[in-house]
Subunit: 204 residues, 2 copies
Protein backbone atom coordinates (compact mmCIF):
# COMPACT_ATOMS: atom_id res chain seq x y z
CA UNK A 1 0.00 0.00 0.00
CA UNK A 2 1.02 3.61 -0.44
CA UNK A 3 1.70 5.78 2.58
CA UNK A 4 -1.59 7.58 1.91
CA UNK A 5 -3.54 4.30 1.78
CA UNK A 6 -1.75 3.17 4.94
CA UNK A 7 -2.80 6.33 6.74
CA UNK A 8 -6.39 6.01 5.54
CA UNK A 9 -6.62 2.39 6.64
CA UNK A 10 -5.11 3.20 10.03
CA UNK A 11 -7.50 6.12 10.48
CA UNK A 12 -10.51 4.00 9.55
CA UNK A 13 -9.50 1.27 11.99
CA UNK A 14 -8.96 3.81 14.77
CA UNK A 15 -12.34 5.43 14.09
CA UNK A 16 -14.10 2.07 14.14
CA UNK A 17 -12.55 1.31 17.49
CA UNK A 18 -13.61 4.69 18.90
CA UNK A 19 -17.15 4.29 17.59
CA UNK A 20 -17.46 0.77 19.00
CA UNK A 21 -16.22 1.99 22.38
CA UNK A 22 -18.68 4.88 22.37
CA UNK A 23 -21.56 2.61 21.37
CA UNK A 24 -20.70 0.35 24.29
CA UNK A 25 -20.75 3.41 26.58
CA UNK A 26 -24.18 4.43 25.25
CA UNK A 27 -25.71 0.95 25.29
CA UNK A 28 -29.11 0.95 26.94
CA UNK A 29 -29.08 4.70 27.58
CA UNK A 30 -32.05 6.89 26.70
CA UNK A 31 -31.87 8.88 23.47
CA UNK A 32 -33.74 11.63 25.31
CA UNK A 33 -30.68 12.65 27.26
CA UNK A 34 -27.89 11.28 25.11
CA UNK A 35 -25.03 13.75 25.11
CA UNK A 36 -24.62 15.43 21.73
CA UNK A 37 -21.42 16.56 20.07
CA UNK A 38 -22.27 19.83 18.32
CA UNK A 39 -19.95 21.70 15.94
CA UNK A 40 -20.54 25.30 14.75
CA UNK A 41 -18.19 26.10 11.89
CA UNK A 42 -17.97 28.14 8.67
CA UNK A 43 -16.66 31.59 7.74
CA UNK A 44 -19.79 33.45 8.82
CA UNK A 45 -20.69 34.99 12.13
CA UNK A 46 -22.71 33.35 14.89
CA UNK A 47 -20.59 30.29 15.69
CA UNK A 48 -19.60 31.30 19.23
CA UNK A 49 -22.69 33.47 19.58
CA UNK A 50 -25.03 30.53 18.96
CA UNK A 51 -23.00 28.51 21.46
CA UNK A 52 -23.50 31.26 24.05
CA UNK A 53 -27.21 31.18 23.26
CA UNK A 54 -27.22 27.46 23.99
CA UNK A 55 -25.38 28.14 27.24
CA UNK A 56 -28.13 30.63 28.21
CA UNK A 57 -30.79 28.03 27.36
CA UNK A 58 -29.02 25.35 29.40
CA UNK A 59 -28.65 27.68 32.39
CA UNK A 60 -32.40 28.36 32.09
CA UNK A 61 -33.03 24.66 32.75
CA UNK A 62 -30.78 24.78 35.80
CA UNK A 63 -27.88 22.94 34.17
CA UNK A 64 -24.24 23.37 35.04
CA UNK A 65 -22.02 24.48 32.20
CA UNK A 66 -18.28 24.65 31.61
CA UNK A 67 -16.67 26.99 29.06
CA UNK A 68 -13.09 26.90 27.83
CA UNK A 69 -12.06 29.73 25.51
CA UNK A 70 -9.10 28.57 23.44
CA UNK A 71 -8.23 31.75 21.62
CA UNK A 72 -9.81 34.81 23.13
CA UNK A 73 -7.42 36.69 25.36
CA UNK A 74 -8.04 38.70 28.47
CA UNK A 75 -10.00 41.52 26.90
CA UNK A 76 -13.46 42.28 28.19
CA UNK A 77 -16.43 40.91 26.29
CA UNK A 78 -20.15 41.28 26.88
CA UNK A 79 -20.58 37.54 27.16
CA UNK A 80 -17.92 37.20 29.85
CA UNK A 81 -19.41 40.03 31.90
CA UNK A 82 -22.86 38.55 31.49
CA UNK A 83 -22.08 34.95 32.33
CA UNK A 84 -19.94 36.04 35.29
CA UNK A 85 -23.29 36.60 37.02
CA UNK A 86 -23.81 32.83 37.31
CA UNK A 87 -20.82 31.55 39.29
CA UNK A 88 -22.87 28.71 40.82
CA UNK A 89 -23.87 27.28 37.45
CA UNK A 90 -21.03 28.27 35.20
CA UNK A 91 -17.29 27.60 35.18
CA UNK A 92 -15.50 29.88 32.73
CA UNK A 93 -11.86 29.40 31.72
CA UNK A 94 -10.20 31.79 29.29
CA UNK A 95 -6.99 30.04 28.31
CA UNK A 96 -5.98 31.84 25.13
CA UNK A 97 -3.57 34.73 25.27
CA UNK A 98 -3.79 35.69 21.63
CA UNK A 99 -2.20 33.26 19.23
CA UNK A 100 0.72 33.24 16.82
CA UNK A 101 -0.42 36.16 14.73
CA UNK A 102 0.19 38.26 17.87
CA UNK A 103 2.92 36.37 19.64
CA UNK A 104 5.01 34.67 16.93
CA UNK A 105 5.89 32.14 19.62
CA UNK A 106 4.68 28.70 18.57
CA UNK A 107 6.01 26.86 21.63
CA UNK A 108 4.02 29.15 23.89
CA UNK A 109 0.90 28.67 21.75
CA UNK A 110 1.20 24.90 21.93
CA UNK A 111 1.66 25.02 25.70
CA UNK A 112 -1.43 27.25 26.06
CA UNK A 113 -3.49 24.90 23.88
CA UNK A 114 -2.33 21.86 25.87
CA UNK A 115 -3.28 23.56 29.13
CA UNK A 116 -6.71 24.43 27.67
CA UNK A 117 -7.21 20.83 26.55
CA UNK A 118 -6.31 19.51 30.02
CA UNK A 119 -8.88 21.88 31.49
CA UNK A 120 -11.41 20.68 28.89
CA UNK A 121 -10.82 17.03 29.79
CA UNK A 122 -11.40 17.83 33.46
CA UNK A 123 -14.74 19.48 32.62
CA UNK A 124 -15.74 16.59 30.35
CA UNK A 125 -15.07 14.19 33.21
CA UNK A 126 -16.89 16.28 35.85
CA UNK A 127 -20.20 14.53 36.62
CA UNK A 128 -21.79 17.81 37.80
CA UNK A 129 -21.35 19.53 34.42
CA UNK A 130 -24.04 18.90 31.78
CA UNK A 131 -22.69 20.96 28.90
CA UNK A 132 -19.12 21.88 27.92
CA UNK A 133 -18.38 24.63 25.40
CA UNK A 134 -14.94 24.45 23.79
CA UNK A 135 -14.90 27.86 22.16
CA UNK A 136 -12.58 28.22 19.13
CA UNK A 137 -11.05 24.79 19.67
CA UNK A 138 -11.12 24.41 15.87
CA UNK A 139 -8.51 27.17 15.55
CA UNK A 140 -6.09 25.37 17.84
CA UNK A 141 -6.66 22.19 15.82
CA UNK A 142 -6.23 23.95 12.50
CA UNK A 143 -2.74 25.14 13.46
CA UNK A 144 -1.92 21.70 14.89
CA UNK A 145 -1.35 23.10 18.34
CA UNK A 146 -3.29 20.02 19.39
CA UNK A 147 -3.36 16.59 17.78
CA UNK A 148 -6.76 15.95 16.21
CA UNK A 149 -6.69 12.22 16.94
CA UNK A 150 -6.00 12.83 20.62
CA UNK A 151 -8.84 15.35 20.80
CA UNK A 152 -11.34 13.07 19.01
CA UNK A 153 -10.38 10.26 21.36
CA UNK A 154 -10.96 12.44 24.42
CA UNK A 155 -14.33 13.62 23.11
CA UNK A 156 -15.54 10.13 22.27
CA UNK A 157 -14.55 8.83 25.69
CA UNK A 158 -16.64 11.43 27.55
CA UNK A 159 -19.54 10.30 29.78
CA UNK A 160 -22.56 9.19 27.74
CA UNK A 161 -24.83 12.09 28.74
CA UNK A 162 -22.32 14.95 28.36
CA UNK A 163 -23.18 17.58 25.73
CA UNK A 164 -20.29 19.33 23.99
CA UNK A 165 -20.24 22.32 21.65
CA UNK A 166 -17.12 23.09 19.62
CA UNK A 167 -16.78 26.31 17.63
CA UNK A 168 -14.40 27.85 15.13
CA UNK A 169 -13.98 27.95 11.38
CA UNK A 170 -12.27 25.17 9.40
CA UNK A 171 -13.51 22.25 11.51
CA UNK A 172 -11.36 19.21 10.74
CA UNK A 173 -13.04 16.37 8.77
CA UNK A 174 -12.16 13.93 11.56
CA UNK A 175 -14.21 16.04 13.99
CA UNK A 176 -17.18 16.36 11.62
CA UNK A 177 -17.11 12.60 11.16
CA UNK A 178 -17.80 11.93 14.85
CA UNK A 179 -20.11 14.93 15.48
CA UNK A 180 -23.88 14.55 15.92
CA UNK A 181 -24.86 18.01 14.73
CA UNK A 182 -22.78 20.23 12.45
CA UNK A 183 -23.89 23.68 11.34
CA UNK A 184 -22.02 25.88 8.90
CA UNK A 185 -22.45 29.62 9.32
CA UNK A 186 -22.05 31.32 5.94
CA UNK A 187 -21.57 35.00 5.38
CA UNK A 188 -24.14 36.46 3.02
CA UNK A 189 -23.52 40.14 3.74
CA UNK A 190 -21.23 41.79 6.27
CA UNK A 191 -21.12 45.35 7.60
CA UNK A 192 -17.30 45.40 7.51
CA UNK A 193 -17.71 45.39 3.72
CA UNK A 194 -19.49 48.69 4.17
CA UNK A 195 -16.64 50.14 6.24
CA UNK A 196 -18.21 49.58 9.67
CA UNK A 197 -16.08 48.40 12.58
CA UNK A 198 -16.84 45.65 15.09
CA UNK A 199 -19.29 47.04 17.62
CA UNK A 200 -19.59 46.53 21.37
CA UNK A 201 -22.76 44.66 22.31
CA UNK A 202 -23.19 43.14 18.87
CA UNK A 203 -19.76 41.78 17.89
CA UNK A 204 -18.12 41.25 21.30
Amino acid sequence: MTDEADRNAAHKAAMQTLKAEREALMAGKSDETRGLLVVNTGDGKGKSTAAFGTVARALGWGWKVGVVQYIKGKWITGERQFFAKFPDQLTWATMGEGFTWDTQDRARDVAAAEAAWDRSLAMLADPDINLVLLDELNIALRYDYLDIDKVVEGLMARPWDKHVIITGRNAKPQLIEVADLVTEMTLVKHPFDQGLKAQRGIDF
Copy 2:
Protein backbone atom coordinates in the same frame (compact mmCIF):
# COMPACT_ATOMS: atom_id res chain seq x y z
CA MET B 1 -43.88 48.18 -19.67
CA THR B 2 -45.00 44.77 -18.54
CA ASP B 3 -46.63 44.34 -15.14
CA GLU B 4 -43.44 42.68 -13.92
CA ALA B 5 -41.28 45.60 -15.11
CA ASP B 6 -43.77 48.01 -13.52
CA ARG B 7 -43.48 46.24 -10.21
CA ASN B 8 -39.69 46.15 -10.39
CA ALA B 9 -39.48 49.85 -11.20
CA ALA B 10 -41.91 50.74 -8.40
CA HIS B 11 -39.95 48.58 -5.96
CA LYS B 12 -36.66 50.17 -6.97
CA ALA B 13 -38.07 53.68 -6.56
CA ALA B 14 -39.53 52.84 -3.16
CA MET B 15 -36.22 51.33 -2.00
CA GLN B 16 -34.29 54.38 -3.17
CA THR B 17 -36.65 56.61 -1.19
CA LEU B 18 -36.25 54.46 1.93
CA LYS B 19 -32.47 54.41 1.59
CA ALA B 20 -32.29 58.18 1.10
CA GLU B 21 -34.48 58.73 4.15
CA ARG B 22 -32.32 56.41 6.23
CA GLU B 23 -29.13 58.08 5.05
CA ALA B 24 -30.56 61.44 6.10
CA LEU B 25 -31.36 59.94 9.52
CA MET B 26 -27.78 58.62 9.85
CA ALA B 27 -26.07 61.77 8.56
CA GLY B 28 -23.23 62.83 10.81
CA LYS B 29 -23.71 59.90 13.22
CA SER B 30 -20.77 57.79 14.39
CA ASP B 31 -20.24 54.45 12.68
CA GLU B 32 -19.12 53.14 16.07
CA THR B 33 -22.66 53.02 17.37
CA ARG B 34 -24.67 52.94 14.17
CA GLY B 35 -27.61 50.59 14.65
CA LEU B 36 -27.21 47.42 12.60
CA LEU B 37 -29.92 45.37 10.94
CA VAL B 38 -28.87 41.75 11.36
CA VAL B 39 -30.60 38.76 9.71
CA ASN B 40 -29.99 35.13 10.68
CA THR B 41 -31.54 32.82 8.11
CA GLY B 42 -31.04 29.43 6.41
CA ASP B 43 -32.31 25.89 7.01
CA GLY B 44 -29.72 25.07 9.66
CA LYS B 45 -29.85 25.44 13.41
CA GLY B 46 -28.53 28.38 15.40
CA LYS B 47 -30.55 31.28 13.97
CA SER B 48 -32.53 32.09 17.12
CA THR B 49 -29.82 30.63 19.32
CA ALA B 50 -27.19 33.02 17.96
CA ALA B 51 -29.65 35.88 18.47
CA PHE B 52 -30.08 34.83 22.11
CA GLY B 53 -26.29 34.77 22.42
CA THR B 54 -26.19 38.35 21.16
CA VAL B 55 -28.89 39.25 23.69
CA ALA B 56 -26.69 37.80 26.46
CA ARG B 57 -23.71 39.81 25.17
CA ALA B 58 -25.76 43.02 25.05
CA LEU B 59 -27.08 42.46 28.58
CA GLY B 60 -23.46 42.00 29.66
CA TRP B 61 -22.77 45.56 28.53
CA GLY B 62 -25.74 46.82 30.51
CA TRP B 63 -27.97 47.39 27.47
CA LYS B 64 -31.73 47.18 27.45
CA VAL B 65 -33.18 44.64 25.06
CA GLY B 66 -36.63 43.94 23.65
CA VAL B 67 -37.65 40.51 22.31
CA VAL B 68 -40.78 39.73 20.28
CA GLN B 69 -41.34 36.06 19.50
CA TYR B 70 -43.56 35.81 16.43
CA ILE B 71 -44.13 32.09 16.29
CA LYS B 72 -43.25 30.30 19.48
CA GLY B 73 -46.26 29.64 21.63
CA LYS B 74 -46.65 29.48 25.35
CA TRP B 75 -44.55 26.42 26.01
CA ILE B 76 -41.63 26.65 28.38
CA THR B 77 -38.17 27.09 26.91
CA GLY B 78 -34.79 27.35 28.55
CA GLU B 79 -34.19 30.76 27.03
CA ARG B 80 -37.43 32.21 28.39
CA GLN B 81 -36.74 30.88 31.88
CA PHE B 82 -33.21 32.21 31.71
CA PHE B 83 -33.92 35.68 30.40
CA ALA B 84 -36.85 36.06 32.82
CA LYS B 85 -34.13 36.67 35.41
CA PHE B 86 -33.44 40.12 33.91
CA PRO B 87 -36.74 42.00 34.11
CA ASP B 88 -34.97 45.36 34.50
CA GLN B 89 -33.00 44.99 31.28
CA LEU B 90 -35.22 42.80 29.14
CA THR B 91 -38.77 43.11 27.81
CA TRP B 92 -39.98 39.77 26.44
CA ALA B 93 -43.17 39.42 24.41
CA THR B 94 -44.27 36.01 23.16
CA MET B 95 -46.99 36.81 20.62
CA GLY B 96 -47.23 33.59 18.63
CA GLU B 97 -49.82 31.02 19.53
CA GLY B 98 -48.69 28.37 17.10
CA PHE B 99 -49.41 29.17 13.48
CA THR B 100 -51.56 27.74 10.72
CA TRP B 101 -50.14 24.25 10.76
CA ASP B 102 -51.72 23.99 14.22
CA THR B 103 -54.67 26.31 14.00
CA GLN B 104 -55.82 26.26 10.37
CA ASP B 105 -57.21 29.72 11.04
CA ARG B 106 -55.53 32.25 8.79
CA ALA B 107 -57.47 35.28 10.04
CA ARG B 108 -56.32 34.59 13.58
CA ASP B 109 -52.73 34.13 12.40
CA VAL B 110 -52.77 37.47 10.58
CA ALA B 111 -54.23 39.21 13.63
CA ALA B 112 -51.53 37.69 15.87
CA ALA B 113 -48.80 38.78 13.45
CA GLU B 114 -50.21 42.31 13.26
CA ALA B 115 -50.29 42.53 17.06
CA ALA B 116 -46.69 41.31 17.20
CA TRP B 117 -45.63 43.90 14.61
CA ASP B 118 -47.33 46.71 16.57
CA ARG B 119 -45.43 45.57 19.64
CA SER B 120 -42.22 45.50 17.59
CA LEU B 121 -42.74 49.06 16.35
CA ALA B 122 -43.23 50.24 19.93
CA MET B 123 -39.92 48.63 20.95
CA LEU B 124 -38.13 50.08 17.91
CA ALA B 125 -39.36 53.54 18.89
CA ASP B 126 -38.48 53.18 22.60
CA PRO B 127 -35.38 55.31 23.25
CA ASP B 128 -34.41 53.18 26.28
CA ILE B 129 -34.05 49.99 24.23
CA ASN B 130 -30.71 49.41 22.47
CA LEU B 131 -31.39 46.08 20.74
CA VAL B 132 -34.63 44.55 19.46
CA LEU B 133 -34.86 40.84 18.55
CA LEU B 134 -37.73 39.95 16.21
CA ASP B 135 -37.58 36.19 16.56
CA GLU B 136 -39.04 34.20 13.63
CA LEU B 137 -40.40 37.33 11.95
CA ASN B 138 -39.28 35.75 8.65
CA ILE B 139 -41.90 33.02 9.08
CA ALA B 140 -44.73 35.55 9.39
CA LEU B 141 -43.38 37.33 6.30
CA ARG B 142 -43.03 34.11 4.34
CA TYR B 143 -46.72 33.31 4.79
CA ASP B 144 -47.65 36.93 4.02
CA TYR B 145 -49.23 37.40 7.42
CA LEU B 146 -47.41 40.73 7.27
CA ASP B 147 -46.66 42.89 4.24
CA ILE B 148 -42.93 42.91 3.52
CA ASP B 149 -42.92 46.50 2.24
CA LYS B 150 -44.61 47.77 5.39
CA VAL B 151 -42.12 45.87 7.57
CA VAL B 152 -39.08 47.13 5.62
CA GLU B 153 -40.41 50.66 5.89
CA GLY B 154 -40.84 50.36 9.66
CA LEU B 155 -37.33 48.92 10.07
CA MET B 156 -35.69 51.60 7.96
CA ALA B 157 -37.45 54.38 9.88
CA ARG B 158 -36.15 53.21 13.26
CA PRO B 159 -33.87 55.51 15.31
CA TRP B 160 -30.36 55.68 13.88
CA ASP B 161 -28.64 53.84 16.75
CA LYS B 162 -31.15 50.98 17.21
CA HIS B 163 -29.82 47.46 16.58
CA VAL B 164 -32.27 44.86 15.25
CA ILE B 165 -31.91 41.11 14.79
CA ILE B 166 -34.42 39.20 12.68
CA THR B 167 -34.45 35.40 12.56
CA GLY B 168 -36.17 32.66 10.64
CA ARG B 169 -35.60 30.66 7.49
CA ASN B 170 -36.50 31.95 4.01
CA ALA B 171 -35.65 35.62 4.61
CA LYS B 172 -37.30 37.70 1.87
CA PRO B 173 -34.95 39.28 -0.72
CA GLN B 174 -36.35 42.72 0.13
CA LEU B 175 -35.18 42.26 3.73
CA ILE B 176 -31.73 41.01 2.73
CA GLU B 177 -31.38 44.03 0.46
CA VAL B 178 -31.66 46.50 3.36
CA ALA B 179 -29.84 44.40 5.99
CA ASP B 180 -26.30 45.22 7.17
CA LEU B 181 -25.30 41.72 8.18
CA VAL B 182 -26.85 38.51 6.86
CA THR B 183 -25.74 35.05 7.96
CA GLU B 184 -27.04 31.81 6.56
CA MET B 185 -27.02 28.83 8.88
CA THR B 186 -26.61 25.64 6.84
CA LEU B 187 -27.20 22.14 8.09
CA VAL B 188 -24.21 19.89 7.56
CA LYS B 189 -25.26 17.03 9.82
CA HIS B 190 -28.27 16.70 12.12
CA PRO B 191 -29.00 14.28 14.97
CA PHE B 192 -32.65 13.92 13.91
CA ASP B 193 -31.26 12.06 10.90
CA GLN B 194 -29.91 9.56 13.38
CA GLY B 195 -33.29 9.12 15.04
CA LEU B 196 -32.67 11.46 17.99
CA LYS B 197 -35.40 13.77 19.26
CA ALA B 198 -35.15 17.47 20.15
CA GLN B 199 -33.56 17.72 23.58
CA ARG B 200 -34.23 20.03 26.48
CA GLY B 201 -31.29 22.35 27.17
CA ILE B 202 -29.87 21.97 23.68
CA ASP B 203 -32.78 22.39 21.29
CA PHE B 204 -35.24 24.46 23.36
